[in-house]
C-alpha cells in the first residue's frame, strides 16, 4: 500500500538560524529530486523550501526507512542537516500528511496566517517535481487538490484579507483613501527604516512617483538611488506637499516638521482630493491638529499597529471556516483514493455496462415477440460478457498498490466515466428492466 508522508521543519519547530541553513535554491531542489528518483525506498518526492519551511512530501514504499532516507537526500546537498537537532523535524503520515499539505496551501500553517505567497510556492514545488520526475498519479491528485484547497480558502473565507504588519497596514490605508496608487505621488520626509520599508511597499503597489525630502541631502540622495525616487531640497517641502497624495514622515526630529498652519497654506493650492499623512517618527513629526483639516487623514505608529492587530484577529476568526474546507478536501482525496482500488472499480464498471444494456433492451423490446425476450436478454448479456471479459481480468490484476496498477484503474475510471453521475435515463431504464 502507498504511504505518503511529509517530513521537514518550519517556523514553529526550528528557529531562524536553523531554517536559513536549510533554505534550498531551485537548483538544490532539483538535485534532491534527482537523487530521490534513484532511491529505491521512495516512489516519489517533492520539495517545498521557503524562508519559513523546508519540507519533503513523499510516497514511500513499505521497505523505506523514514525519515533516514529523506534526511540522507537533504544532507547530500546540505551536509549541515545532520547537525540539526531531531526536535526541529516533524514527520506526518497518511491522513495527517495530507492535512498538513492542505493547511500549508491554505496559509493556515504560515507564520502570518493567510499570507498569499505560500500557494504560489507550493505550485512552484510541484512544477519542479514534474520537471524532474515522472509524475505519480497520487501526487498529481494530492497537489491539485492542495491548489484547489488554497484557492477555496482564499475565495470562500476572509483568511487572506487585511494587512497584518505596520508597513502593509500603512499601504492598505493609503489605498483605502486614495485608491489605485498608479497615478499618485508619495512624499518621504526623513530617512527612517520604517519609512523606507513603507516606501518599498508603495513601490511594489506601483506608486506613480516618489519624492524624498530630508535635512541631510546626502542621505536623501543615497535613499533616492535605492528607491529610484526624486530628491527635493528640504526648503521645497511645501511645494512637495502640494503634489503629494501620501506623505510618510519618518525623520528623527525633536520639533514638529508638519504643523496645522503649514497645512492651512498648502491645502488651498492642492489639486488632489485627499492627503494621507503617515507619521512614523518617534517623537511624532506631525502636529496632531493636522488631522483636523477636511480631507486630511493623519495616522501614527500606534494607529497602524492597532489596525494590523485587528486584521490579524479577524484572520484568526476565519480559521475554523478554513479548517472545514481543509477537512472537506481531505474527504475528497480519501474518496478518490478509495475509488482507485480494483474491487469497487470492477463493480462500478459492470453495473454501469449492465445499466446501459438493460436500458437499450428495454427501449427496443417491443420490436420483438414476447417469446424471444429471454433470448434477447441472454444474447445481449453474452455480448457484454465477452467484451468485458478481458478488461475485467486485467483489472483484477491491479491491486492499487503499484503506480502502474493505479494508472490503469484511473484510466479505466476516466474512459468509462465512472466518477461522473450516471445518465438518469439509463438509471430509469435499468430500474424498469429489473
Amino acid at each position: 500500500m502507498f504511504k505518503w508522508v511529509v517530513f521537514g521543519m518550519n517556523h514553529e519547530t526550528a528557529p531562524l538560524e536553523v531554517r536559513e541553513r536549510l533554505a534550498l535554491s531551485a537548483d538544490e531542489v532539483r538535485r534532491v529530486l534527482q537523487r530521490a528518483e534513484q532511491t529505491p525506498a521512495l516512489d516519489s518526492a517533492a520539495v517545498l523550501s521557503t524562508c519559513n519551511r523546508t519540507e519533503m512530501v513523499a510516497i514511500v514504499s513499505s521497505r523505506g526507512g523514514v525519515p533516514q532516507d529523506l534526511l540522507a537526500l537533504l544532507s547530500a546537498v546540505r551536509p549541515e542537516v545532520e547537525r540539526i537537532p531531531a526536535s526541529s523535524w516533524y514527520l506526518h503520515r497518511a491522513e495527517a500528511a495530507v492535512r498538513h499539505l492542505f493547511r500549508v496551501s491554505a496559509g493556515l500553517d504560515s507564520m502570518l496566517v493567510g499570507e498569499p505567497q505560500i500557494l504560489g510556492q507550493v505550485k512552484e514545488a510541484y512544477q519542479l517535481y514534474c520537471e524532474m520526475c515522472q509524475p505519480h498519479p497520487v501526487f498529481n491528485k494530492l497537489f491539485h487538490l492542495a491548489f484547489r484547497c488554497g484557492k477555496r480558502v482564499r475565495t470562500e473565507t476572509r483568511l487572506g484579507e487585511g494587512a497584518v504588519s505596520v508597513a502593509y497596514a500603512a499601504v492598505e490605508l493609503a489605498m483605502k483613501i486614495v485608491g489605485s496608487l498608479a497615478q499618485k505621488t508619495a512624499l518621504l520626509i526623513g530617512a527612517g527604516e520604517t519609512g523606507e520599508l513603507v516606501a518599498r511597499h508603495l513601490i511594489d503597489k506601483q506608486i506613480g512617483r516618489l519624492l524624498l525630502c530630508n535635512r541631510t541631502a546626502e542621505r536623501a540622495e543615497r535613499l533616492a538611488q535605492r528607491l529610484k525616487g526624486q530628491v527635493l531640497p528640504f526648503e521645497a517641502l511645501e511645494r512637495a506637499l502640494e503634489e503629494a497624495d501620501v506623505v510618510l514622515c519618518c525623520a528623527e526630529s525633536p520639533t514638529r516638521l508638519l504643523t496645522r498652519e503649514q497645512l492651512s497654506k498648502v491645502l488651498p493650492r492642492r489639486s488632489s482630493p485627499a492627503l494621507f499623512l503617515i507619521d512614523l517618527g518617534v517623537p511624532r513629526n506631525c502636529e496632531p491638529e493636522c488631522g483636523r483639516w477636511e480631507n486630511v487623514f493623519l495616522y501614527d505608529l500606534d494607529d497602524l499597529k492597532r489596525l494590523a492587530e485587528l486584521n490579524l484577529a479577524r484572520r484568526r476568526e476565519e480559521i475554523p471556516k478554513a479548517e472545514t474546507i481543509v477537512e472537506e478536501m481531505i474527504g475528497e482525496f480519501a474518496l478518490w483514493h478509495r475509488s482507485l482500488q480494483a474491487e469497487p472499480t470492477i463493480r462500478q464498471l459492470t453495473q454501469r455496462v449492465e445499466a446501459i444494456r438493460a436500458g437499450e433492451v428495454e427501449k427496443h423490446r417491443k420490436r420483438f415477440e414476447g417469446e424471444h425476450w429471454d433470448d434477447l436478454d441472454a444474447l445481449t448479456r453474452g455480448i457484454i460478457g465477452k467484451i468485458l471479459h478481458s478488461p475485467l481480468e486485467k483489472l483484477k490484476e491491479c491491486d492499487g498498490k503499484t503506480s502502474h496498477g493505479m494508472a490503469r484503474l484511473e484510466a479505466t475510471r476516466e474512459l468509462f466515466g465512472l466518477d461522473e453521475p450516471e445518465h438518469p435515463e439509463q438509471d430509469d431504464s435499468a430500474r424498469n428492466a429489473q
Binding site: E156, E161, K176, I177, G179, E294, L307, L310, N311
Partner: protein, 274 residues
C-alpha cells in the same frame, strides 16, 4: 394577461427584498463566491421586472409610467439596472445592500398602490411625453445612485477620520472610487435632467399651452437642476472634493424625494394628469 401582471406585481418586491437580504449577508459575512449568487439573483429579478413592464405596456397600450406608482416601479428598475452595470464595471458588490434598499422601497410603494389605467388622456399619447418621462426617470435613477455613493463616501470618510476599522472600513471600496462614482452619477444625472426639463418645457408649451413655471413640479425640477448645476460648477472651478460633493449630492437627492413624494401627492399642477 391581467393575472400575470398582478402576480408579478406581488413577486417583484419579494424578489427585491431577497436581493436586499442576500447583498446584506454578503456585506456582513461572506466571501467572494457569495457575490456570484447575488449577481445571479439581481439579474434574474431585473429580467422579471423587464417582463412586468413589457406586459403592462402591452396590456395598456402605453408606456408603464403615466402615474406616480408606475413611475416608481420604472425608477426601481432603472436604479437596479444601472447598479448592475456599475457592479460589473467596478467588480465590487458592497454598494448593493444600500442601493437595493432604495429599489425595494420604491417597488413596494409601487406594488402596494399601483393601478394600471388603460385609458390615457390623448394629450399624453405621443413621443414628446414618452421622451420627457423616460429622461426624467433615468436622471432620477442616476442621481439616486450618486446619492447612495455619497452616503457610502460619508460613512467611510468618518470611519477613517475617527480611526475606526469596522465593517464599513473593511467592506467598502476606496474613498477615491466612491467619490468618482458619486460625481459621475451626478454628472450623468444632470445631463439627463437637463434634457428631461428641456423636452418637458417644449412639450408642455406645444401640447398644453401652459407655462412650466406655473406648475409646482416644474419649479421643484428647476431647483433640483440648480442644486446639481452648482455642484458641478463648484467641483470643476473651485476644486471641491469628496466631502462637500457628497453632501451636495445628498441635498440634491433630498429635493428629488420631495419632488417625487410631497409634490406629486399634495401639490397640484399639470403634472397631476387626472
Amino acid at each position: 394577461m391581467d393575472w400575470v401582471i398582478r402576480f408579478l406585481n406581488i413577486l417583484l418586491p419579494v424578489l427585491y427584498v431577497s436581493c436586499l437580504f442576500l447583498y446584506g449577508f454578503l456585506f456582513v459575512h461572506a466571501g467572494a463566491w457569495q457575490g456570484r449568487r447575488c449577481r445571479l439573483l439581481l439579474r434574474s429579478t431585473l429580467g422579471i421586472h423587464l417582463l412586468y413592464l413589457a406586459l403592462v405596456a402591452l396590456a395598456c397600450g402605453r408606456l408603464p409610467m403615466t402615474n406616480l406608482y408606475e413611475a416608481l416601479s420604472f425608477l426601481a428598475f432603472a436604479i437596479a439596472a444601472v447598479y448592475a452595470y456599475l457592479e460589473q464595471r467596478v467588480k465590487d458588490e458592497s454598494a448593493g445592500v444600500f442601493i437595493l434598499a432604495f429599489v425595494f422601497l420604491f417597488q413596494i410603494l409601487s406594488s402596494a398602490f399601483v393601478t394600471h389605467e388603460s385609458h390615457l388622456s390623448p394629450m399624453l399619447q405621443g413621443w414628446g411625453f414618452a421622451l420627457h418621462v423616460v429622461l426624467a426617470l433615468l436622471s432620477y435613477a442616476a442621481l439616486a445612485i450618486s446619492a447612495v455613493f455619497s452616503a457610502m463616501y460619508l460613512m467611510l470618510y468618518y470611519e477613517i477620520k475617527r480611526h475606526r476599522f469596522g465593517l464599513i472600513y473593511s467592506r467598502l471600496p476606496s474613498l477615491d472610487v466612491l467619490g468618482t462614482l458619486c460625481y459621475q452619477g451626478a454628472r450623468v444625472g444632470f445631463v439627463l435632467l437637463t434634457l428631461a426639463i428641456f423636452s418637458g418645457v417644449v412639450w408642455s408649451h406645444q401640447v398644453l399651452s401652459v407655462a412650466w413655471y406655473k406648475d409646482a413640479k416644474g419649479i421643484v425640477a428647476l431647483v433640483t437642476w440648480l442644486v446639481y448645476g452648482v455642484l458641478l460648477v463648484l467641483k470643476s472651478r473651485w476644486r471641491w472634493h469628496g466631502l462637500r460633493v457628497a453632501y451636495f449630492s445628498l441635498a440634491g437627492f433630498a429635493v428629488i424625494l420631495f419632488s417625487l413624494m410631497v409634490v406629486n401627492l399634495f401639490l397640484t399642477g399639470f403634472h397631476g394628469f387626472s
